[in-house]
Every structure is written in C-alpha cells, then in structure tokens.
Amino acid sequence: MSGSSDNGSSSAWTGTRLHIKEGELQCVRGCGFYGNPAWEGHCSKCYKDHLAQTQQRKTVFHPSLKLRNKVSRSVSDVSDFTSSATSIMSRKFDRFEEKRRQQLDKKTKVVKSIFRKSQGKEGSKAGEASRLVRQLSMESQGAGQQYNEFLKTLSKDVQCGVSKLINTFLEKMLRVVEFQSVDECSEQIQDFYTTMNDMITQQPVYIGLEQEQIDKINELTERYITTRLYKPLIITVNAVCEEKDLAIQNRIRSLAWISSQHLECGVEESSQEVKETLDLVITELLEMDSKRVPSDKLQCLVSAAHHVLQVLKQSRSGVPASADDFLPAMIYCVLQANPPLLHSNISFITYFSQQRSLQSGEAGYFFTNLCCAVAFIEHVTAQSLGLTEDEYERYMTGLALPPHALDGDAWLCEGMRVMLQNLKTLDDLQAKMDHLVTHSDELMQEMDELQESVSEQVTSVLENNPLTIHPRRKVAIDEELQASSLLPSPLTPEIPPLSPDIKAAQQSLSFLQQLGDGGSQTNSPDLPDASTVASKSTSRTTSDFMGSEADLLSLGVDPEEPDSSIHGLTGLLGSDIDLLGPDADALEAESGMLGSSSGLPDLIGPVRSTEGSRNHNYLNLDEIGSAQGMFALNQPFQSAKIQNNTQYSIPPTKNEKHLSGTLSGQDSLLYSGFTIQGGKIPSIACETGNTHSLSSPLEPPQSCSADPLSPPLTGSQPALPPPLIPSIPGERQEASATGQKDSQKKGDALDKVCDVLGDIVETFDSLL
C-alpha cells in the first residue's frame, strides 16, 4: 500500500492521475513538509540541500565565464519565450510601450534617464528582434567583476553555490522582469535576498564564513542584481511613480517660500558657512538619483544627512541635534534641493534594497527621515507651519511673501548668491591688488632713490675726480699732437730766416708784446684772474723769450739792409702774427673746447685767423707806413683797444657762453688747463697758421713792392678790420706774443705735450 502510494506519488508528477493523495504532495525526502514539482518533488529546504549537493559535484569553472554564458543564454531564452508566448507578449506589450513612452517624456528631465532610455531601447530591440545578443553595460560588468573578485577570496564551494544561485535567479528574472509589476519584482528580489542570506548563514557549506563576509556577500548580491536588472526595474518604478514624482516636484516648487523659521528647524540661513554646507546637502540629495544601486543611493542620503547634522551644529553652536531638530532640517533641505524623481528613488530603494538595511543602521534611519520629510511636504498644512489658512493661501498663491523673506540674501536665487560671493572675492582681490600696488610703488621709490643716490655718488666722484674730463681734453690734445708733429717742419725754416732779420723786428715784437700785455691786461677784466695771470705769465715768458731771440737775431740783423729788414720784419711779422692769429684762435678754441665743442674753433678759427692776418697786415702796413713804426703801431693798437673796449660787449657773451657751457665748479680746472695749455697752444696755431705763414711771406713783398698801394690798402683795410676786430684783438695780441714764443719754444712745447700726454695716458690707465 505504502509502496504503491510511493509509486503513485512518483507518477503523480506526470499529471496523469486526477486524484492526488496528501502523501504524494509531500517532500520526496519525507521530511514532513509539502513538496513542489518545480523543486523536483522536494520541499524548499530539501531542495536547497539537493541543489548544494549537486553543485558540489559539479566541476568549478570561472564564474565570470559562467555569467557570460548565462547572459547569452538568458537572452536567447527571453527571445524564445517572447516568440512562443506571443499572446502574452501582445498583452504585456501595450503596457511596455506605455512605459517606454513615459520614459521618453522623462528623458529631458535627467541626463541619467537618457542613458537608461537608450538602454531600454536596446533591451526592447533585443527582445523583439530576438537575435541580437545584448551587451552588458559598463556598470553590470563592473558589478559582476567586483562580485567575482570577492568570491575568489572565498572557498570554491561558496563561490560555486553563490554564483549558481545568483545566476539561476538572474536568468529567471531577466526572463520575466519586463512583464511583472513592481510589487512582483520586489517580492521576488526580496525573497531572493532572504534565500541567499539564509543559504549562506545556515547551510553547513557556508558555516566558516565570517559575519563581515556574509554582509559583504549580501551587499554584493544586491549590487549585482540591481545593476543587472536596473534598466527594467527603474522603468517599472518610474512608470508607477511618474505622477508622484511630478506632483512632489511641483509641490516643492510651490512651497519655495517656506523658510527655516516656518519649520522652526534652527537653520541659520544667513550664515555663509551654513549656506556652504547646505549646498553640500543639496548636492548629495541630487546625486542620489544618479546612482544605480539602492545601497549607493542610501549612501548619498547618509552623507547628505551628515551634512544636515553639520548644518545644525553650525547653526546651534555645537549642541548635538535630536530628531526634533533633524527632521525639520531635513525637510528644509529637501525643499531647497527639490531632487528629481524623488518618489521613484524612494520607491526603488524601498522595493529593491535589502530590508535589513532599511530597518536598521543609520541608512535606515535617515531613509525613514527622508520618507517622513516627503510625507510632510506632501501633506503640509497651514497648521503644521504655524500659519493661518489665509496667510498660507496667500503665500501658496504667491500673493504675498513671508515678512522675513527678504531678510538677508537667503532668498536670493543661486546666481545672485554666487554673484555676491564673487563680489566678495573680487573685493578681497582688490585689497590684495592695492597692497601689491603700494608695495610696487614703494619698490619703485626705493629704486628711484637708489638711482638718485648712485647718480649722486657718480657725480660727486666725477666732481671730485678731474680725470673725468680728460677724454675731452684728449680730443684737443690729439689735435695738438697732430699739430706738434707738423710743427717742426714749418717752424724750423722760419728761425733761420728770422735770425738774419732785423732787430727792429724784435723790437717791434717786444713792443707788440708790451702792447699785447697791456691789451691782455686791459681786456682781461672780463676773464677770471687765473687767465690774466696765465696770460701775464705767458707774456712774461714770451718777452723773456723775445729777449733771447732778439739776442740771437741781433747777430744777423746788422748786415741786412733796412728795407729788406723791414721787408723781412714785415714778412716775419706777417708770418708771426699770422701764426699768432691762429694762436688766438687756438686760445679761443681752447676755451671753446673747454666749454662745449671742438666744432666751434673750426667755425670761428678760420675767420679769426684771417682776421688776425689782416689785422696784422694792417699793423704791418701801418708800421711800414710810419718809418719807426713804434708810434704808428701804437695808434692802431689803441684804436684796436678802443675798438676792443667798445666791441668787447660781444666777446664776453661768447666767453659766458663758453663758460656756461663748461661744468660749473670746474672753472678752476679749466683755467688750470688753460694755463697749462698756454704753452701747447701754438701747435694748433701753427697748423692753421701755416697757410697764412706761407701766403703771408708772399704777400708782404707784394704789399711792400706795392708800397704806394698801401694807402689804398690802408684805406681799404679800415673797412675790413673793424668788423673783424671784434673777435678778441686783445687776446690775439696776447696770443700773438705767446704764439711767437711758442713757435720758438716748440721743443719745450713738445716736451710739455709729451708730459701732458703721459698724464693723460696715466689718467686713462687709472680710469680704466
């Protein structure tokens, strides 16, 4: 009997018999519970054991490979299913299409939903076309990989059991998920979580697992399943919650006027610090929608809640917040953030996260608070905000704003707040900039001072050190050098003709010298004392020199005829004075050079030289005209002096110009140079005077031979000299004397030049 009943029970699964005994419904293992044909006649517990045993027998292969195989197979299964069950398909398809359409509408709301949409499209295509093998999304691959890697750390039995269970479940879910309601899906998934948890906590194979490993497996199971099924699940959830999502969004928008005062949550909206933390809260709340896994969403919520607590801490100076404070603050934050798809996310978490995590832990607590906040926002009334119905209505319809709405910048839009913040930053930058500018000004000033002090030092050094002028002198000296090199040839021949010439010439010269002294002395008042001293000294030396020359000359003078001597004298005079004229120029040039430029003498020199020659010609003629020439000479010189006196009004200005040109304070130096160079001057004079000295010897004979012509000459000369005279006749005379002296004292001059050159070289060396 019992045997037959056993046999009957085994055949009962074929469904041939209509009457089934109770014993036949029980587990084949005889444990007392009812069996199920789907579990091969086992009860659920025995079936699990049975499964575990069969799994143990199977060879272990790479889980990820296995997963891939399952996926491809499951897709084909889905397609088989859809093709075979077209009636069901057509029935469910309308609903699916509706979901798709709804999803399309949402597409614009969130970027994330676009991603989902494309996935949904792909999935539906795969389902309908039944040939395409769907690619796993990046997230799914990532989650699968994470799971596999964790499982590798466990024993092979555990690996095998867990992955087999998951894959079986996924296979089943992928087949049906798109055609089930949210509640069905949720129920299945929650059941699976329980199954998995029970399996790994109770079955002997998994006994060695630590609590942490169990938690990890549970967490990864949730992660993997929700990631793999995210697309169909979120579509379903969104479809169900769409209206609620929109409703809560609009509701929050219309409640934008609610401030922390209404909620009595103690959030200091005006504080910058609080505002920044509030921004963090809002960011986290918005971030929640972008996560796929419920636990990730919860994690966002938890960090948001921590920021809320931080806000309360900042607002209330450190007192720990109780729920009495936290919930209002949470409501306030949700109102401020207005997260997209709020209801969808809450539902998704509620449906598909492990219930344990929602019932305990801080995630559960904060999630509950979020639910409370949403519920409060949905059902907020005038009473719950401490307002009268009238006030509430006015605020809701936008007819009025709460009295404190415009206090501070709490009610400014985000852009305005950012702008204010930026303005503040700009102010800071401005202050820093000002600081920088003042510093740079100070630096500039310091640099100027430094430059000034350096230049002062340099000028003081320049002032204290006369050597700085030497480069300028060098130019003059170079000329002198040139001249001195040229000197010997024109001068040496002059002495021999001079020596045979008459004493009268010497006498006249000495007389001239005396006159020149007087002239220079009379003229000197315009010049500084030093120059007069210098001129005096030079004149003295010349006179001495004259004397010696006269001695020399006196030897050969006697035999000479007076005429010739006169001629010679005139020639000599002409030449000498011609030489002297340039001397004067040289003096002029010297002073000029000291003053400003060496170009001056070039301009003035030639004119002066001609002046000089003419003047002296004139003198010569005068001298010639008067037999003795002494008195006659006196006359023109006096006139010249007078002219000088009258016309000296001009030279001083020149001198002044020259002097003004020279560096003040260096006058003494100039004059010392002047006196020193007095001896060297002839060298220049000779050079310029050469032409005259060459021409004058020719001319005097003409003038001599044309003695009768002298009257016309003298007649003509007064016309010429007067305009020419203004150019320092006195000086010229003085210079003529010195020039004469120099011409004969060229050796000394050369030595002096050499000395000066040596000095200059030394100074240059020292300068360098």
Partner: protein
Amino acid sequence: MSGQQASFLTKRVNLNGKRVNLAIWDTAGQERFHALGPIYYRESHGAILVYDITDQDSFLKVKNWVRELRRMLGDDICLVIGGNKTDLERERRVSLEEAETYAREVGALHFLTSAKLNQGVEELFLELTRRMLQTALTNDQQRINSLTRGGSTTARNLQIVDDQEAPSSGKSSCCSS
C-alpha cells in the same frame, strides 16, 4: 551610551547569550510631525515613551501615543513608559501611582529615569530588550508551529522606536549626555 548624534544609535547587547542589535531611533516629537509617526514605528519591535514627571501634559501625550501604537501594531510591540526627570522629584506633577496603574492597564512597563543623572536608563533598555526578545521568540515559535516556513531561530535585529514624548522634557532619554 554616548552617540555622535542624539537622534540615532546602534547598540549591540548580549542578553542571555544572544546577540541583539538595538537600533534606537529618535523621532521628532513636535505635534506637527505627529502624523509622520507610522513611518517611524512601522515594523518596530518596541517603543519607549517618555514623559516629564513635572509635566502633566506630557503624560497625556504618552497616553495618546500608547493608544495609537496599540491600534496600529497591536500587542507585537513592546511598550515602555519612562517617567523622566526624577532629579526634579519635588516638582512632580504626575503621581507614580497613576503612571504605574496606567502602564499595567496597557501592558507596558514603567520606569523612572533621570537622564541628567543617568539613572534608570540602562535598566529601562535592558528590560525592554528582554521583553522584545521574548516576544520575537514567541512569534517565531508560533510561526514554526503553524507550519509556515520558519524564519531564523536566532534573534532578529530588533528595532526600537523611541518616541520621546513631551519636547518640554528637553533631554534625550536614550543617551546619557
């Protein structure tokens, strides 16, 4: 028993060799949030209702809460009524006798505590945990006996909703500050 925040605490308790996780949640006690209560206490195993012994009004609110909880959750939820602020015994407005009588009537435990002096809080929680564990085990046993597929025989995580009544009490009853 000090938490980083006063609103939420997880505590592990070993009771008679059984490991119990207590998730202690604070709820917003303001009247305006009263309607949100069910969200907090759904699926909870126990509740601590605290009144201020110097405030008769807070005791009335406790009575309201008890009524609601019994209505919503039946006898599955373990209730503990705590009379807080025993350090202010002289200002007592709610008589001990009245409170204890009421507690007995509704099948709740009654404790006198002083959060300020940290008196009676530990005992309150331990006793509640014991009660909840007992209830849970009884329920499990009943399920097994009724041939429905048995859940775990080990202690489940217990969830406590600590409805701190009477915001005027001002002090958290679950944490010693």
